[in-house]
């Protein structure tokens, strides 16, 4: 059995990498970092129109290509490598995945075509640290619902045209759609100062915002869990892309910088750091690839595979990004050098969908490894 992405996925990778190298280089990334929406809408539309990236895993009925999580993962790996700044994570990894997994036809018909076409940006929001125990509240209001609570920091939520809120109901958690293309009564969104400027974060205040249920509140937990696992894998793939790029950066510098009459890569303190980074990158890659393969071909494995990737990939990326700064010396501490961009991405995405520690704890539960009773 081989869980490595096959030739088709690799072809897609080459196309996406070429596109990102042309339209989304460091110069562009840095320009977008300073803007409110963090990206160039023209590039966003091109990604949707010419490459079909937003709709890659969206069902063909809704204007997507119906590709598997393997292809999706490879795209996220490339986006992570490029530190792409647009609202792709919120729109595709979170919102489109939740809509797909919840399988509410009416909601899909309303929202997925816009996402696939590149017309709608979206995100998923929740209160507290775990979506499954979201502290947002949903109360019935006639045929609809009203949402209350505060969610922060939420990825890509500041300007999204569609918010999917996970909120508690008396029957258990539900998912509720809020159309934000026009003004929404009771909704306040505040842009936050993100540690990672390439990824926009917002605080979302909901004061009785009117919303439509997606799926049946109280019955969506299994589908939402699946969607979140897939999102964790997308994030893991991003982290693999970032970690691998950081390793390239480190090796390139170790092969050029000369001190004491030698390339610094010939010093073992540097060489061994690079070797350990290589092991970290390959470990992360194995877990991420295994995860996206499992999501597509062995769904029963998905929870463990996602937990493993979630535990391993953030650690690997954070470690590589950290060592890369040290390895570059003073230049690695400058704003001009890209090393800090990866460190900040690594540090913040480490918390985005659960810390490594939380993934390990969940994994322990799944493996039936007991807790110590107090």
């Amino acid at each position: 059995m081989s869980f490595t992405p096959g030739p088709e996925a690799e072809e897609l990778r080459a196309v996406v990498r070429g596109f990102l190298e042309k339209r989304c280089g460091e110069v562009e990334i840095r320009r977008w970092m300073e803007t409110e929406d963090g990206h160039d809408p023209a590039v966003w539309r091109q990604a949707a129109g010419e490459l079909g990236l937003q709709g890659l895993a969206v069902d063909e009925r809704w204007g997507g290509s119906g590709a598997s999580t393997v292809e999706l993962g490879v795209v996220f790996e490339e986006l992570g490598r490029a530190l792409y700044g647009g609202p792709f994570f919120g729109t595709v990894a979170l919102a489109a995945t939740v809509l797909t997994e919840l399988d509410d036809q009416a909601a899909q018909e309303r929202h997925l075509p816009g996402i696939a076409a590149g017309d709608t940006t979206a995100s998923v929001v929740w209160g507290g640290s775990d979506p499954l125990t979201s502290t947002l509240r949903a109360d019935r209001d006639g045929a609809g619902w009203r949402l209350t609570g505060r969610a922060e920091p939420m990825v890509d939520a500041g300007l999204a045209g569609l918010l999917l809120a996970v909120a508690a109901t008396p029957d258990g958690p539900g998912v509720f759609a809020v159309d934000c293309t026009g003004p929404v009564e009771g909704l306040t969104r505040t842009a936050l100062n993100p540690l990672d400027l390439t990824r926009k974060l917002a605080a979302v205040d909901l004061a009785g915002v009117s919303a439509t249920a997606v799926g049946v509140p109280g019955e969506i937990t299994p589908a939402l869990t699946r969607a979140l696992d897939i999102a964790v894998l997308a994030l893991s793939c991003e982290q693999v892309g970032g970690a691998a790029r950081v390793l390239e950066m480190a090796v390139e510098y170790a092969n050029t910088r000369v001190q004491f009459g030698r390339k610094i890569g010939s010093f073992q303190a540097i060489k061994h750091k690079c070797a350990d980074m290589l092991v970290a990158v390959e470990s992360a890659r194995s877990c991420a690839y295994h995860g996206i393969w499992a999501a597509a071909h062995d769904p029963a494995e998905l929870p463990i595979a996602a937990g493993l990737a979630g535990a391993v990939c953030s650690e690997s990326y954070a470690r590589c990004a950290l060592d890369n700064i040290q390895l570059h010396g003073g230049i690695g501490f400058t704003w001009e050098h890209p090393a800090h961009l990866d460190l900040k991405r690594a540090r913040s995405s480490r918390r985005l969908l659960g810390t490594p520690g939380r993934h390990r704890a969940r994994l322990a539960d799944l493996l039936d490894i007991p807790e110590v009773s107090a």
Binding site: S2, S266, H272, V312
Partner: protein, 398 residues
Amino acid sequence: MSTDLATVTDLVEKFLAEHPPASTDDQVLRGARFDAGLAYPHFDQGFGGLGVDPTLSPVVERLFLDAGCSDWSSRNVIGLGMAAQTVHTHGTPAQKTKYLRPLFTGEEIWCQLFSEPGAGSDLAALATRAVPDGDEYVLNGQKIWTSLGHMARRGLLVARTDPDQPKHRGLSYFLLDMTTPGVEVRGLRQITGQAEFNEVYLTDARVPAADLLGAVGDGWRVAMTTLMNERVAIGRRGGGRGDGPIGAAVRAYRKAVAEGRADAADRDRLLQLWTRVEAARLTNTRAAARAGQGAPGPEGSIAKLQFAELNKAVFEFAVDLAGDEAMLIDDYTFSRPGASSASHAAQDVRKAYLRSLANSIEGGTSEIMRNILGERVLGLPGEPRIDRDRPWKDVPRS
């Protein structure tokens, strides 16, 4: 590829029907298996193989083990893990015919006579001399750390045939009969109390020129085949998720919880180890699929490095969970194991812990693995060297 798998699986089933493991003598079965080409399916026909893809060989071995056949991988660890591949790659037809079959049946155990007191990581600095005399070579020198030397009928030996050449160029590779007069094996006691490895003294021992493996002076290249296979053999121990030492650690943790000896931090520490072990296992699976067609490359060092460091950490954890038992040991009685215990999880956990400390030394130290990954995989520059182009005899040694 998959048709190959089906064909091979079919062959194994037929073979097992004709030679039921329960009622067939082990050595007879292994001999017949060799003759049927099911010993090392990727080897050439006539030499224990069928010439199929190397990824099929572990599959076939698994089928035989599952059918209840005996496992020789620890008893003849060097023979099966390294000697067979090296002889198959570099041997003459006569050498392959002579050595491969008894190696596989277990009639002949092999050992590896590489390391010397003055040449460990820097293997190419070795000093054992081989001087031609008629159609023989005369050997003088000392080898050390020779695992299973006390059991071995044959040894993989690297010796210096030309001290005037730079160190890598003056070496030759021999297949040594360990019963040759002048070969003396003495046990060396390890920190576990046991003596798995040995010193081997060579005093005017004569080896026929016909037992040179590869050309005179080509010993380094042949030795590389052995070492690459060694790293893969050590790093890529098979098994599924949660098998091996990590499985033992999980059981030890459960027991500690039940007996009230664990604390909350232990669970996270266990999961940190578990995830790293599982990541390493998946990396090996990926590397094996990629390496499919060829000989193992320097990436084998990833597997070796991870295996060593994780094994040590896992056993350390298991000992920490043992409570006050961690201050005791079953015993240090001197013994001479008949099999390698390099990865054993079954025995006394404190002894397993002690044994694991050698994992980052044997088969190339972790520092050397990181050098290889840095230089051969990532392409970083080597260190400045004072020994490269000088005749071996002029290079300083400790």
